[in-house]
């Protein structure tokens, strides 16, 4: 057993010990790498920082915030030069505080809060949710029952749900029939199952006018549910958010999925990499939130 361990470790150490810092070492920490959008941002920030001459460690804790807290403590003890955090810093306050005490700057990659960070680069979730909710209201001519697919434990998504709900509640002839909690991981399948259940419980054509999803994966799940139950000709309008590849493809088709919002994930990641580089090169970096603009993408835009 000990021999096995030593050999196994030796293989991995040899494989990883060739990397060395040139400009410095940056740890990119997230519990959400399984999310398609986080993956895009993390991959991009990793590439951008490597291009700038940094050694980058990407650490994912698979949804586990306690493990995120622990791994941040680990990289602090290793004296990394900077930490990029793709999670709300308010959920790991001890680690953020420890980084501050150790003099290691932290930068938010769509973190959603500036607490303890030097800079957070993100999209404006309130604005994006307003774009899709308003589009949905217009598409169903301000009338009918709307189903919301939400995930409030993740703060940026919670913000989206709050603003969309406010817009629907402020439209007199729209009734929010339910806010369905979509579990993560597995948002697409969970949303499909949930929407199938709602459709089955509401068999009359026209009983559901629209489905507002807080991000694209549940929207795709809703689309699958509508198609699998043969309800695609009822004019139900689905909107998502994030403009991931499969969502763009679905919107271009003739199905119910009609619009999403393209966050500039590459822009967010490159902005973070640039700010990290500025700070580590000794430039003064003002503490602030940087919002990268996002665009509504409809079927007409994509075609």
């Amino acid at each position: 057993m000990p021999k096995f361990l030593v050999r196994t470790l030796a293989v991995f150490i040899l494989a990883t010990s060739f990397a060395f810092a040139q400009n410095g070492r940056v740890a990119v920490m997230t519990p959400y790498l399984a999310s398609a959008t986080t993956r895009i941002m993390v991959d991009e920030v990793e590439t951008a920082l490597q291009d700038l001459g940094y050694t980058v460690d990407v650490i994912d804790t698979a949804g586990d915030l306690a493990a995120l807290d622990a791994r941040i403590q680990d990289v602090i003890l290793q004296d990394v030069d900077a930490i990029v955090l793709s999670a709300n810093p308010e959920l790991v306050p001890a680690a953020v505080e420890a980084a501050g005490a150790a003099g290691i700057p932290m930068f938010g990659l769509d973190a959603g809060s500036l607490q303890g960070l030097t800079v957070d680069v993100t999209s404006n979730n309130y604005a994006m949710a307003a774009q899709t909710a308003t589009y949905l209201v217009d598409a169903i001519e301000g009338e009918g029952r709307v189903l919301m697919l939400v995930h409030p434990p993740y703060a940026p998504v919670q913000k989206r749900g709050a603003i969309a709900r406010a817009i629907f509640d402020n439209t007199p002839d729209i009734e929010v029939m339910d806010e369905v909690f979509i579990e993560v991981p597995g948002p697409l399948e969970n949303a499909r199952n949930a929407v199938e259940a709602v459709l089955t419980a509401n068999p009359e054509p026209g009983s559901i006018a629209g489905i507002w999803a807080a991000w694209d994966e549940p929207a795709l799940g809703a689309l699958q549910a509508i198609e699998s139950l043969g309800r695609g000709d009822e004019g139900i309008v689905i909107v998502g958010l994030d403009a991931i590849g499969p969502a763009r493809e679905a919107i271009v088709g003739d199905g119910a999925f009609r619009a999403t919002v393209a966050q500039d994930f590459v822009g967010i990641a490159r902005t973070v990499a640039g700010v990290v580089d500025e700070a580590l090169q000794g430039d003064d970096v003002a503490r602030r939130t940087i919002y990268v603009p996002a665009a509504l993408l409809t079927r007409d835009d994509l075609r």
Partner: protein
């Protein structure tokens, strides 16, 4: 000797390897205090799980119970009920949840795997219900509660940085001592081992097996609740799913500990070794900059390997 203590020797080999490869950062006082803090929450849940597993049963609901306890405490604090009442409510709920598990297993004779799989989902649902799915954080969590998870007893300074013996480490040590005394030095502990050996024989020998099992599940629930409170304090927040991942690691730690037992029984000191292996691996592999997913595979391989070696040893004995 090597066969009996193979897992312990494996731990020593792992520590030696990391010490050689990362001499400046691994074998340091701050890092070891960091590791004790990091494993403290898992340790408490694993110690409590040991009590149930001694009887030959499982409690799969410890993770969601930890989430639920954290959510109840956070929601109570958000409602300005104060920290003591919030903690009392959370631990009461944990005890009631544990008792419900015990009732299902001991009195309705539902297989523990099935019963606690059901309550796992139930407690997870309650955790979501408490805050309507939202995370409770920020000003809703009193500074004293969040400060406890971050604080500790000052030990001095190293390289100009304050070194603390973490409060969470002390809590875990306390739970370890209580569990060890309960299992190894009380009649109740011996009765639990008797149930694990042969439930029918234990009953015929006069052990009130149902009541003893019920008690074990209550202890498991309370342990999970304490773990959930420690997690909420450490993160100064409560998320309806934040403790869910504890269950598999807790069971893995107990199984790793079983490999140290001559009789193949769970022992709480063995569980401590199991928890330490998981904690040291996570910390050391991160320091070696090994890919997160490779870490996960490697940890799984080591757990399976250790348990397989222990199983072969017992078969040969």
């Amino acid at each position: 000797m090597i066969r009996r203590f193979g897992t312990l020797l494996g731990l020593i080999a792992i520590i030696a390897t990391f010490s050689v490869l990362r001499p400046d950062t691994f074998m340091t006082v701050p890092n070891w205090l960091n590791i004790t803090q990091q494993v403290s929450i898992l340790a408490v849940v694993a110690f409590a799980s040991t009590i149930v597993m001694v009887t030959g049963a499982f409690d799969l609901s410890v993770g969601t119970m930890a989430s639920l306890a954290g959510m109840i405490a956070a929601a109570a604090m958000q409602a300005d009920l104060g920290i003591p009442l919030a903690l009392a409510l959370a631990l009461t709920a944990a005890a009631v949840g544990g008792a419900f598990n015990g009732f299902l297993v001991a009195y309705l004779r539902i297989v523990p795997f099935v019963a606690t799989l059901g309550t796992l989902t139930m407690f997870g649902g309650f955790a979501l219900l408490v805050s309507d799915g939202s995370t409770i954080y920020g000003r809703a969590i009193p500074a004293a509660f969040g400060g406890f998870g971050r604080g500790g007893i000052p030990l001095g300074t190293i390289d100009g940085r304050a070194v603390l013996l973490p409060n969470l480490t002390l809590v875990a040590a306390g739970v370890l001592i209580v569990t060890w005394l309960l299992l190894e030095h009380t009649g109740y502990g011996r009765r639990l081992y008797a149930i694990g050996g042969n439930r029918v024989a234990a009953r015929l020998a006069g052990v009130r097996t149902r009541l003893a099992l019920l008690g074990a599940f209550v202890a498991s629930g309370v342990g999970a609740g304490i773990g959930g409170l420690m997690l909420a304090s450490r993160l100064a927040s409560a998320n309806p799913t934040q403790g869910d991942g504890l269950m598999l690691n807790a069971i893995a730690a107990v199984f790793l500990g079983v490999t140290l037992s001559q009789e193949g029984e769970p022992r709480v000191l063995g569980t401590l070794v199991g928890v330490t292996i998981l904690g040291v691996l996570a910390n050391g592999l991160t320091q070696l900059q090994i890919d997160t997913y490779v870490q996960q595979v490697l940890t799984g391989v080591i757990v399976v390997g250790a348990v397989a070696v222990g199983s072969l040893r017992r078969r040969e004995a």
